[in-house]
């Protein structure tokens, strides 16, 4: 596990000084680096490759929709209270990123009629978005560039707020790490639509905390892993308070010699009574040499909950294939249609129109016999 130790010592930035977070930050950080949770998170992906991405020069993402009333953007704020938002133990690499680079803070204090869009040109500054109580907004992230890069994003949803978050990531030859941490307060509603192509290595960390009673999170994800490419998805949803609900549907297609890893963890904390969590991960393998790792996990410290999780790995359904062929559709076209349909079940939200064609583009070059 030598490559887990490449993280640099922490230099606490100005905004962190004199905050609750700073008190134990160094100690927590050191403990996290050596902890078993971290080893599990990097079990299937060479951590060094991803961690080293953080050394690349970073730029501010291109913003649009930020000129609407109710949006305040601050570069390098002198003071930020992130004590309840940042979990060093769960994500030491992302925390180190926060400490190391300039960052962008975006406060949203009124309903947004237009989406707030982050368009990444490459390696990005960390972004923190604070959504005020009762505010409703759409956030979109787009990344098409093929440079090696990483992005870290923190979202804090105030009570009774609603955020629809869509993310399209279609560069296919880069090393790419995407980290998003979301905290949802009472009766807040968070919805993530993730659409991506796998790449040389695409690592997606998603950590959602339902901290307020009645908080709700939904995640749909569709990823196409073309030949010889790699995907690693690590998703954790924590139900911390009562009456919290979550829904996850994740569909991945893995072509011959492609590799996908899905680790979906649902953690119901003690006291999170009447939590309701559902997770479904379905994988379609094309070709005999596709590698698919999937691990849906439930960690429950409460009796009074409703949880369901499941994962499947399969191939195209012969009956569906015959049905299409019996209507004159050639087998190669029928297979493509079935693959498109499989992904389409998890394509939704404000970036869906662009996602559909991009996700199936690799199928056009693939031998579908």
């Amino acid at each position: 596990m030598a490559d887990l130790e490449v993280l640099e010592p922490l230099n606490l930035p100005d905004w962190l000084n004199n905050t609750v977070l700073a008190e134990d930050a160094v100690e927590n950080y050191q403990r996290a680096l050596a902890g078993p949770a971290r080893r599990e998170l990097w079990k299937y992906t060479p951590a060094r490759k991803i961690i080293e991405l953080r050394q690349l020069p970073a730029t501010q993402p291109v913003l649009s929709g930020h000129e609407q009333t109710g949006v305040t953007v601050t570069e390098n704020p002198s003071r930020l209270d992130l004590a309840d938002l940042v979990n060093i133990q769960r994500a030491p690499e992302a925390f180190a990123q926060l400490c190391k680079q300039p960052l962008l803070h975006i406060a949203v204090t009124a309903d947004l009629a237009q989406p707030l869009n982050l368009h990444y040109q490459g390696n990005s500054w960390p972004v923190i978005i604070d959504v005020a109580p009762d505010v409703s907004m759409t956030l979109t992230e787009e990344c098409e560039q093929d440079h090696d890069q990483q992005q870290t994003l923190w979202l804090r949803l105030g009570a009774n707020s609603a955020v629809t978050h869509a993310r399209n990531s279609f560069g296919a030859t880069a090393l790419h790490w995407q980290f998003v941490s979301v905290q949802v307060h009472a009766s807040g509603h968070y919805r993530l639509h993730n659409h991506a192509l796998a790449s040389t290595l695409r690592r997606q960390d998603t950590q959602i905390q339902l901290v307020g009673s009645g908080a709700h999170a939904e995640l749909t994800s569709a990823v196409m892993v073309a030949e010889r490419l790699n995907l690693d998805q690590q998703i954790t949803i924590e139900h911390i308070n009562p009456h919290t609900t979550s829904r996850q549907r994740v569909h991945n297609i893995v072509a011959d010699r492609g590799k996908s890893t899905f680790n979906g963890r649902i953690h119901i904390h003690e006291g999170a009574k009447n939590s309701d969590a559902q997770l479904s991960n379905k994988n379609l393998g094309l070709g005999a040499n596709a590698t698919i790792n999937t691990k849906p996990e439930l960690e429950i410290y409460n009796d009074d909950v409703s949880c369901a999780h499941g994962a499947t790995i399969g191939q195209l359904d012969d009956n569906q294939l015959f049905y299409l062929c019996s209507r004159g559709v050639a087998p190669a076209v029928a297979r493509r249609l079935l693959c498109e349909g499989f992904l389409q079940q998890c394509v939704d939200g404000p970036l869906a129109d662009a996602a559909g064609p991009a996700l199936v583009a690799p199928l056009q070059d693939m031998e579908m016999t």
Partner: protein
Amino acid sequence: MSLLAVKDLHANVGEEDGQEILKGLNLQIQAGEVHAIMGPNGSGKSTLANVLSGRPGYTVTRGTLSLANEDLSHLEPHERAQAGLFLAFQYPVEIPGVSNMEFLKASTDSLAKAHNAEQPDAAGFIRQVRTLAESLDLDPQFLKRGVNEGFSGGEKKRNEILQLLLLNPKMAILDETDSGLDIDALKVVAEGVNRYRSADNGVLLITHYQRLLDYIVPDVVHVLADGQIIQSGDKNLALELEAKGYTWLT
């Protein structure tokens, strides 16, 4: 020349050494005719439909099958469809994520391409499909949903008839299309089949019950037993079977 000609057809489930289900079946259907095949459970009715449409999992060991003089036996399922054969399924599958409209367009385009015909323009095609759906009491909203996804049994069967009318094949095989239908749905389905009937095409109805034949009147009724046609007659044969069962014939 027969539209559909099946001669001495022997077929097994599985490979060559599998169980023989069809044991020398002969059937000739002329253009403009509707034939019904009835028979007890396990007689080979659905196997006949599957073998004619080229479903994987069956092996023809002897005999010939042709459509409009074209030998079907070496054609893949999609090539048989392109040759003009259509199977309305007993249990139409659900295909989530592929919308009905997308599926129908792919099918229509494939058939047009196979015949070097022009593919229909998108707007005209959508209008045509919506009109057909309405004529079959299918909510046009169903066209946006996944193929047969969440459809009731009756809706699935009406969706099969919609495809029959849209694709307008030379020969339609309806495999127990009446199963699971209430009387109103049965009438709608039968009306659709009657609309499809013409002097140029043929219909093979596979059914357990005479009731369907009250609405789609056959020219010829056959009784299939143990993989062979053992009796043929006019529509009155079906009434006789309804009254007496099959035991007097076998």
